[in-house]
Symmetry: C2
Subunit: 236 residues, 2 copies
């Protein structure tokens, strides 16, 4: 039999805690400046502090929380001045990945990507932002998996939260970026899929770069709009 089941990793508490905390930060339930008290989190989840500690340490590595010895951890925001660089690094990681994915991807995996896109489309229709981001993550994560780079993939995973915090807010918010995202969430992925189907590495890289840098610009435009609004409000 050529069919293979995907490896299902053993789940441990730490991973569940990590997923819950990360989601809370991404969706804005935990805001920058909020403190994360290990004992409270553990008590609320009905577990001991050990897995909570490990999850918080990983969030620190991902840049989502700040941590000082003996002083605990607080949720971090992403400074405007670093967004540009972060998205450029992201684009570089995705470019390398998709070039290699072009050489290796199977037809079945292409169908998997198409399925993620369909799911994303339905989620956009339903206004289920959480599901939109889940589908987007699955789409790009599949590309990383197909590419098969160990370390680049790890770095990609590691900066994923950082990349999504701001875009999540922009998508969910009422600003000008909201309509843009609703309109282009799916369509901006189509050229990527098409290039993969054609196994055209150059086109695929261009499609990915355009996609990512476009998101970056949208977020920074949202910033500028918000800043202008601030100034305007302050001037009144």
């Amino acid at each position: 039999m050529s069919f293979q089941f995907p490896a299902v990793p053993a789940r441990v508490l730490r991973q569940d805690v990590l997923a819950v905390l990360r989601k809370a930060i991404l969706e804005g339930d935990l805001k920058p400046g909020d403190r994360l008290l290990e004992a409270d989190v553990a008590a609320q989840m009905g577990i001991s502090r050990a897995p909570v500690r490990e999850a918080v340490r990983q969030l620190e590595q991902e840049g989502l929380v700040d941590f000082q010895p003996h002083r605990g951890s607080t949720v971090l925001g992403v400074p405007n001045e670093e967004i540009d660089a972060i998205y450029e690094l992201r684009a570089e990681l995705e470019s390398r990945a998709i070039r290699r994915a072009c050489e290796r991807i199977t037809d079945e995996q292409i169908e998997e990507l198409a399925e993620h896109l369909h799911r994303m489309g339905r989620a956009v229709e339903a206004g289920d932002y959480s599901a939109v981001f889940e589908a987007d993550h699955a789409f790009h994560a599949t590309i990383q998996r197909v590419a098969g780079y160990r370390l680049l993939r790890r770095m990609w995973e590691s900066m994923d939260g950082l990349v999504r915090v701001r875009s999540y807010q922009a998508f969910e918010g009422e600003g000008p970026a909201n309509k843009y995202f609703r309109r282009t969430a799916v369509s901006s992925h189509v050229p990527i899929l098409a290039a993969l189907r054609a196994r055209d590495a150059d086109a695929a890289e261009k499609a990915v770069r355009d996609h990512i840098l476009e998101v970056s610009e949208r977020i920074q435009a949202e910033d500028s709009a918000a800043a202008a609004h601030e100034v305007h409000a302050a001037a009144r």
Copy 2:
């Protein structure tokens, strides 16, 4: 008084363990494939498993060890195919940092950099490779500190081990890269320092990029030489 003491962070066991383990990997005392048994490490260090666990988790985030739930952790090597991308990301991080450092660096901080270079020079003379790398790390870390980017600095720190593993081996080994490193370790940093003195951001970025990409090429050349040697040996 305008003088300020640098903040001295509270030291906790985890950080010492992390430093020891990381150094052991970088210097080759722990080789790719070696297993890291928490209980053994803890016993040898005379402490409990808790701080060891946290240190190992961080090494996993840094890409130096692989970790699977319930199966423990093993030391990882850096695949040749990923070196190019890793150094390119590194160059991007350092470029952004030095541009900002150019705007912010004080004369005292420039002297601090010069001091690190002197130390590096003496270490090269003495053949103390460990000290060379310590000075190099201090030099670049100072630039990151001066630049003041929170997240980019964290990412820089996080990939530091990955970047140094291979160059450490090449420097310490007997290959052609050894002589190159002895000759250029200090001199390749001089243009960076000069550009900072002149507050010339463009020149500084170019100097940094050249420096990093040069190291990348040397390491990959060492690879090719080693691979050719392998083939030659196999053909005999």
